[in-house]
Symmetry: C2
Subunit: 179 residues, 2 copies
């Protein structure tokens, strides 16, 4: 049951947003009572927290891994790691971006924004140059939107194209998409 609830909540939050989805909606979708949701998770917020925790932990792991790398490998590792993470957690990332106001007020999730910022800083090569900073922010949004929107492209192709596109955005590769 617990798993069913999380699956329903994930789908509904991704489709209608956190504030746009009621406990009644989730209960109906999961095939249980509203009271059952509160039995398994004590709050609506707690459902969101538990839903996003795996992605949050993977982001933390990525953050730690990238930081420990030699300088000249950090950018590429950050890009690849972020793309794969976003692809592995498409709907979670969508919720993360679309419900930022809800998220930043959540004590268990509030550090995600800071970690994302650090990821962007890494992708910019820790530069103060406006061009680098803008490019890195662009990658953040580019990967998110592309993963969140549903396209009929196989995941492995999407992965490679996202990485290539992101590195192009950052000015790391001279070659464009073939045609």
């Amino acid at each position: 049951m617990r798993g069913h609830i999380l699956e329903s909540a994930l789908r509904l939050f991704a489709a209608g947003g956190f504030n746009g989805t009621s406990l009644h909606d989730i209960a109906a979708d999961a095939g249980c009572s509203k009271a059952s949701l509160i039995y398994h998770f004590s709050t609506k917020e707690a459902i969101l927290t538990e839903l996003l925790t795996p992605a949050r932990e993977e982001l933390a792991a990525l953050d730690a891994h990238v930081t420990g790398l030699p300088q000249d490998q950090q950018v590429e590792a950050a890009v690849v790691g972020y793309v794969e993470l976003a692809l592995r957690h498409r709907r979670e990332v969508k919720i993360l971006f679309e419900d930022t106001p809800v998220m930043v007020c959540n004590p268990a999730l509030g550090d995600i924004a800071a970690m994302a910022e650090r990821l962007v800083d890494t992708m910019s090569g820790r530069s103060r140059d406006a061009g680098r900073i803008v490019s890195a922010n662009m990658v953040l949004g580019a990967v998110f939107v592309t993963c969140a929107g549903e396209m009929d492209i196989p995941d492995d192709v999407l992965r490679d194209e996202l990485i290539a596109g992101a590195l192009r955005t950052l000015g790391r590769r001279p070659d464009g998409p073939r045609h």
Copy 2:
């Protein structure tokens, strides 16, 4: 008053989302009663609609303008037009992306998604190649996120860097950001 209400609603919707902002919140921020909101605009949805209409119309104009251009100028025109539009309507674009579920159900706003899709199609060079399609989608998200997030970079610099970054993403320029 009417203008004050729209300004308050714009700020609050952008900060907390449509579903996360109540009529009471808007009334308090605008310094009037909740009933006054309904007097000027008949529904909460109508406030959103009126708020997004200018941006919607500019998008429609951009769509028409780009379509009328010779093939070889369309991609660059689409990129430049989109960047300038997003920069001119930062908060509106943020609402547009964060409240897609609300938007697509709104009859007066429902066509925005279709126009955005056409814009992406144009930026992809109307290609069926996965790389092109992914790149174009990336540009859509890249510009949005960068405009929506607040950075202390002057608008004109941001404009140039966004255009350059987007064209790089699309593989239209071999040079990266200077360093």
